[in-house]
């Protein structure tokens, strides 16, 4: 237990383009909520929708 590494959880947001369905993963920003249409797709310029918000744990 003394030598066990501390786990940290980082929240991510996955956006999906409504048109070309391209997925973009970025770090969670305060105010992100699921299904919100926020930004434009870098590939086709259409709106993207937040598909997932999740946490991934990493050892420090």
């Amino acid at each position: 237990m003394i030598f066990s590494k501390k786990k940290i959880i980082i929240a991510y947001t996955v956006e999906q383009c409504i048109k070309c369905e391209m997925l973009t993963k970025r770090k969670f920003r305060e105010g992100d909520i699921l299904f919100a249409e926020l930004s434009k797709c870098s590939s086709c310029g259409s709106l993207t929708r937040i598909e997932k918000i999740f946490g991934e744990s990493f050892e420090q």
């Binding site: 959880i9 929240a11 991510y12 996955v14 969670f28 305060e30 909520i33 699921l34 299904f35 919100a36 997932k52 918000i53 999740f54 946490g55 991934e56």
Partner: protein, 377 residues
């Protein structure tokens, strides 16, 4: 090579240092511990166990303090509270609920529902009074944070009481049940403490998988509030009428799905109910695994489940369930990638279930059960 050892010719005097030529000090080395353990064994065990329990209780005290501080800081930083909220929060943390007497179980569910809802209404009203311009979403978040802080306070008080009672009575057997349940209590308490950041920032938790699936099905469909903090939408799928139900997101609430179902059933003929929820996984089961079954998949105190089962029984509607397995911690902390990745799979299974269990022209209610924090519709 066979080696034979003769076990019959031990010299017991020599073995226990009891011979005439042996040192009496060596005798004491054997005899003293025996006497010590016979007469004071339980006291020694009590001391060893006590030190282990003290560490756990100190941790629980830390969790309690941390949750209280987080709640007060959240109120001060994010909401425009009129007066210093500390006194009011401390009063809320010590609130208790006396459950109705169950000697005569007739009508107990109604009584429990009334007691629990009265408490919720009271808390909501008084939390709102801290900052009148608080939005409904903020209000649900503060209520959840308050619930976490008061639960941690209650856990600490009960465990500490059990520990101090055993110590006061110098009673080792009294401390044993505490030693046995403490690891489970610690798991729950740690999960509650770790849930605070997710609820503060409005992130979806593992329990929100049901609302997440139904929320996506509700996109681009007209929605209405059908019961307190509960959203309803009507749509079609393969010539079947679909009634979608979930708690009203993105606030932190579970809504009142049973009341909503009652309203739907009073105006429509339902042929099936499908419930989607998070379920506690058994040890050894994979996290985020999906399972299908029968019966109402809904947790909580039991009043919602009772009401849904009564509606289904009175109207002879079969209830089908899809659950996503997860641990206690996963259910109330930020949703894991594994669980989030299963949302599309669950949605496809719901559509398959509708086709398998209903005919064209029939109606199905789909209920996304769970806390809808960070999950709108």
């Amino acid at each position: 090579m066979l080696i034979l050892v003769n076990f019959t010719n031990f010299d017991f005097d020599q073995l226990f240092s009891m011979g005439d030529d042996s040192n009496p000090l060596m005798m004491l080395v054997w005899i003293l511990p025996i006497i010590l353990f016979v007469f004071y064994g339980q006291h020694i065990q009590l001391l060893v166990t006590s030190s282990q329990l003290k560490k756990g209780i100190k941790k629980l005290d830390g969790f309690r303090d941390e949750s209280r501080t987080e709640l007060i800081n959240y109120l001060k930083r994010n909401l425009n509270v009129k007066d210093d909220p500390v006194k009011k929060i401390d009063k809320f943390l010590d609130y208790f609920t006396i459950m109705p007497v169950d000697m005569d179980p007739n009508g107990i569910v109604e009584k429990v529902r009334h007691t629990v809802r009265s408490r919720e209404d009271y808390t909501r009203k008084h939390v709102k009074s801290l900052s009148p311009e608080m939005t409904d979403i903020e209000l649900t978040r503060v209520q959840t944070l308050l619930e976490i802080a008061s639960s941690l306070q209650m856990i600490y008080k009960i465990i500490n009481h059990m520990f101090l009672t055993a110590k006061k009575q110098n009673n080792y057997p009294l401390i044993l049940p505490l030693q046995m349940i403490l690891p489970f209590i610690m798991e729950q308490a740690e999960a509650m403490k770790d849930a605070i950041p997710a609820f503060k920032t409005g992130q979806p938790v593992g329990d929100g998988i049901g609302p997440m699936v139904v929320g996506k099905m509700m996109l681009n469909i007209e929605k209405e509030t059908i019961a307190f903090q509960t959203t309803f939408a009507k749509t079609d799928f393969e010539d079947r009428t679909i009634f979608l139900l979930k708690a009203e997101g993105p606030g932190s609430t579970v809504g009142r799905p049973a009341d909503a179902l009652e309203t739907i059933v009073s105006n429509n003929k339902l042929d099936a109910i499908i419930m989607i929820d998070a379920a506690l996984k058994l040890e050894g089961e994979d996290s985020a695994s999906i399972a299908q079954g029968f019966g109402a998949a809904i947790g909580g105190i039991g009043t919602e489940k009772f009401q849904i089962e009564a509606i289904a029984t009175n109207n002879t509607i079969p209830i089908f369930s899809i659950v996503v397995k997860q641990s206690v911690k996963e259910a109330i902390t930020l949703m894991t990638k594994e669980i989030a990745d299963k949302a599309d799979d669950v949605r496809l299974q719901v559509y398959d279930m509708i086709l398998e269990n209903t005919k064209q022209g029939q109606s199905v209610a789909i209920i996304g059960v769970g806390n809808t924090a960070g999950v709108p519709q």
